[in-house]
């Protein structure tokens, strides 16, 4: 079941004071997110990630297209009871303590006073806010506000949580804790939609990703799907290979690297399928230690997509030029 569905979602802004020109922050965005997925929404700065999240939270309104969350139109009050949202660089009320803020938000979901206190305490424990929870938020560092922001997004035990740059401002320990938190959410069946330009986080956490560049969706799929077609060959590690065999096999191998201890790493190009070379090696007495595809990382894929989009003059945020070109 799709928990998020967008169709042709488009957002134009007017820029310029004397001669306002439409600027396309988002163009014709169509994608779905399935239940229980950890979905990474990736893109360089200014790609339209936050705009998409704001449209899904109905903080801004689309110029065209539509979006549904949990089968209902965005903005449906019933849906809000079932989702959580962390804004990019969140900011909360300076004069409230972390504890009070969470209790305040929990009350909006109809929890009793004792449940609000219990939830606030539990969530602040989960995000690593200790005695500081009784300090006013004006005294919090950026990273601590980010932790409080994550806690408030989970105050209603959401089925679906939107996190806009959740790792922003966090130290390495905080980043690891948030990664673990996202995995715990996934394990309990919560769908996580998070935007980021930190690709290592996406690679470690996401079952599926979408990449937006200049307001347009340029890729969408599982990390395996997106990077598999860019497989560059195979890495075969063998041991017990004689010099004769080594010489014979070198013909179809790109590189041979000695790993020490009689082990060699053979890099096979795509033109040399491993099933052709492995039987020969085994027959000559060598042992196969491992076989792995040599693939592009998500980072390689991401950079290739962004560069391609930047080179593509038909992609761009300038609506006027685009209309004139068409």
């Amino acid at each position: 079941m799709d928990v998020i569905r967008t169709e042709g979602l488009t957002k134009h802004y007017s820029t310029g004071f004397w001669r306002p020109r439409p600027y396309a922050a988002l163009q014709d965005l169509t994608f779905t997110v399935g239940q229980g997925e950890v979905f990474g929404f990736l893109g360089p700065n200014g790609a339209g990630k936050t705009t998409t999240l704001k449209l899904l939270m109905q903080l801004i309104f689309p110029t065209a297209g539509r979006a549904e969350i949990l089968g209902r139109p965005v903005g449906d009050l019933g849906v809000r009871k079932r989702i959580g949202y962390l804004a990019e660089n969140p900011y909360f009320y300076d004069n409230l303590t972390a504890e009070e803020l969470l209790q305040y938000f929990a009350r909006l979901f109809g929890y009793s006073a004792s449940d609000c206190r219990r939830k606030a305490s539990q969530l602040l424990d989960d995000v690593g806010i200790g005695a500081e929870r009784r300090f006013q938020l004006r005294k919090f560092s950026k990273g601590m506000v980010q932790r409080v922001g994550i806690a408030q997004a989970l105050v209603n035990d959401p089925e679906l949580v939107f996190l806009d740059e959740p790792m922003s401002g966090l130290d390495p320990i905080g980043r690891r804790e948030v990664r673990e938190l996202i995995l715990r959410l996934r394990d309990r069946g919560c769908t996580v939609f998070f935007s980021s330009h930190v690709l290592s986080d996406a690679e470690a956490l996401c079952s599926r990703v979408a990449i937006v560049v200049k307001g347009r969706l340029v890729a969408n799929g599982s990390i395996d799907e997106l990077t598999a077609f860019r497989a560059q060959g195979w890495e075969l590690v063998v041991s017990g290979m004689s010099d004769d065999v080594l010489k014979r096999t070198q013909a179809g191998v790109s590189t041979v690297t000695s790993l020490g201890g009689g082990r060699f790493a053979l890099e096979l190009p795509l033109t040399t399928p491993p099933e052709r070379i492995i039987p020969e090696l085994v027959k000559s007495g060598a042992s196969i230690v491992s076989l792995n595809p040599v693939r592009a990382t998500l980072e390689d894929f991401f950079i290739a997509q962004v560069r391609a989009a930047k080179d593509d003059r038909t992609l761009g945020n300038d609506v006027v030029n685009k209309r004139a070109a068409s």
Binding site: M57, F61, P90, Y104, F105, F109, Q136, Q152, N156
Partner: protein, 268 residues
Amino acid sequence: MRAIAIVAAGVFRDSIRERIAYGLVFFALLIMAASFLLAQLTAGQDVKIIKDLGLAASSVIGLFIAIFFGISLVTKEVERRSIYGLLSKPVTRSQFVIGKYLGLAVTLVINVAVMAAALYVVLAYFEWSTPGKAKEAWEAAAIDPALIKAFALIAVELLVITAVALFLSTFSSPFLSVALTVAVYIIGHFGDDLKHLDNIVESKALATVGRGVYYVMPNLARLDVKSAVVHAVPVSATHMFFSTLSALLYVAVLLTASTLVFARRDLK
């Protein structure tokens, strides 16, 4: 209603911790205390001076709080993006606007009540310390219950000004909102003059514009009974009732307009 009450309680809690609000109320209390000293210098007019200054200080300080806090209710939330967290919860934009307004309204009413109580304390001490003969020159008793009417209408006026500030801030910049709210306050105090502008000017067009402005602007002059109370002129219950009713209707219209404007606004 529950969401509105929770948002209002949040505003109240936030605003009672604003040091600037305490500073302003303290300043009003200081003026009241100072008026006591000033009164010592003016024979016969002493109690009037204390009442005049006390009511004026309450009104002006309340006006400051109403304008600046009223405008920041929405603009601060939008500029600092704290609204994102709140609107992602089960709260509609109209509940947000009304809750914010009510939270500040409660704060303002409490502020006015504190200033009223302070003025009564000053007046009680003045009465206690004034010889019986000197009291005979007073037009009204020092501890005059009619003062409550003046304070009540000050509070109603502040509710109107807060609604004006909130409405303007839903679509204009903070600076422009302050300027326009102050303009509404000033024009609102000349309501009757605007209505009868044809008695002063010859231009029919100008008189018509004046009448038009009169019908659009709140009639704040009707809510100003400070002078009447100080000079022991009776303020009827009918006047209190209809002035309050028309002011509250004006507030209701402004809140409706604010929610309609805010409902479709992009929170960039």
